[in-house]
Amino acid sequence: MTSEPLVLGIETSCDETGVGIVRGHTLLADAVASSVDEHARFGGVVPEVASRAHLEAMVPTIQRALEQAGVKASDLDGIAVTSGPGLAGALLVGVAAAKAYAYALGKPLYGVNHLASHICVDQLEHGALPEPTMALLVSGGHSSLLLAPDITSDVRPLGATIDDAAGEAFDKVARLLGLGFPGGPAIDRHAREGDPTAIGFPRGLTGPRDPVYDFSFSGLKTAVARWVEARKRAGEPVPVADVSASFQEAVVDVLTRKAVRACRDNGVDHLMIGGGVAANSRLRALAEERCAAAGIVLRVPRPKLCTDNGAMVAALGAEMVARNRAPSALDLSADSSLPVTEISVPGPGPGTGLGRAHGLSQGPENSHDRQVGGGHRHGPGHDHVHEVSGENLYS
């Protein structure tokens, strides 16, 4: 290839309508329309509200990205889109839009994995990913440790949350403390004024017989709720700053401890952290400190590239084009529970994509298995997006 691939990426897996444009490892545009304000009063993302907002924002956000990048749609080498995992109805808007643009413009279409995109985005910040890359992905929907020998074809889940995602715990604790939604930035802010050692909240799944790389934040969330309730019942004021700092410390302590352990165990000398929780200042600081102590190079993209965006999808799409991976077919579907091991969804046509080596070869005859909400099975270590539900702490 004489010049690096110019790729547009579309991301609609949750509440951000993201459209990014990259040329190889260079970020040209990163347009995001967020519906977060519309969800705030519900205390979490409402899938139907998010889907409606995606439809409204889709074409204007594409137009804004093309304008920002100063390129014409006809110049693109490909169009990439998050095909999963995420909210089914939300994903479908982005996938349908991507297919229409790819078809009308005569460009190859790449349905790619949201989690692999969160890793690949770091190429826009720090250049080519080392191979293998160790990645800690932490967001409102995911908390995973992933080892990626090849970001376009081989991502191996080492561990994931067995209950709540880290960002979900931030949201729920923020709600408990009356700090609003989304909870991450609010807790981060209050924690700066608090003592992280004030309250010894539990570190989930850190016992000697617990899974080494899995996470659990549901028990922590309940422990915080019990502590706060006990305080209130005793008629004592709730020290919001200390609770925030101590809760946040419990989360980032476990995240960084397990990530560093994963690097050591696998002989990987650097760590990439991505996802919305990677914007947390204490996570960044503690990861920096522990990685430095362990001789591990830390790669964390700027916060705007850590939260959901289209640039990360474009980054992975560009890598797919550069490595000559097989594009997707026009019957590409949204898959709300796409396993992280399926980095892209190649079509049945001729192609050299190594992604097919994972048994992904998929013809029209089995496309029924891939429908939205379809029941195909996923292995362990695969975490689903948690939609807002009234089942846990709140009803």
Partner: protein
Amino acid sequence: MLLLAFDTATPAITVALHDGVRVLAESTEVDARRHGELLLPAVDRVLATAGARIGDVTDLVVGVGPGPYTGLRVGLVTAAALGDALGVPTHGVCTLDGIAAASGLDGPFVVATDARRKEVYWARYQDPFTREGEPAVDRPAEVAARVAGLPAVGAGALLYPEAFPGAAGPEHVSAAALASLAAARLAGGVPLLPPRPLYLRRPDAQVPAGYKAVLPT
């Protein structure tokens, strides 16, 4: 004129190509859960059948519902994206109007489609091309009370025979009817709808009632 029409507001994924005079090719598949997968391949197939290419299309027509939201949005976002990429106008047509146009009835009648949750999307028509008022979503019994005695067409009418005795087809909309209707209206200078969804319901999201204690009381 080469008009590409499609609709995903009913269980049908239906696509048609119209040259301003007649329908050149059409495709209709019924699969309520696969609108996202089936629409673009159907568009491609219809164009190929007519020996046309997507770049030849001069107008897009999309059914704007009312219909179940997830499928409805597939058609709307596809139309918006194709329209933007091709630089051609995108028009909306009420999905119920498409069913009415294909009803084969001449007196007053009702079109009802399945709105799920034991409700129907419906509208009343003076004749196949004249709707009275805006489409609505209601329980079948409420609709029956207001339109008693009128013939009814559409899957929503067929689904509730107690409310719509003698209901008949067509069950779902066909893009061929939608395309013919749009072509006639464009030729007659009748404005079409903006390509925006007719949801007719607000998202059902509840503001959380309040905090539920975890400690025993």
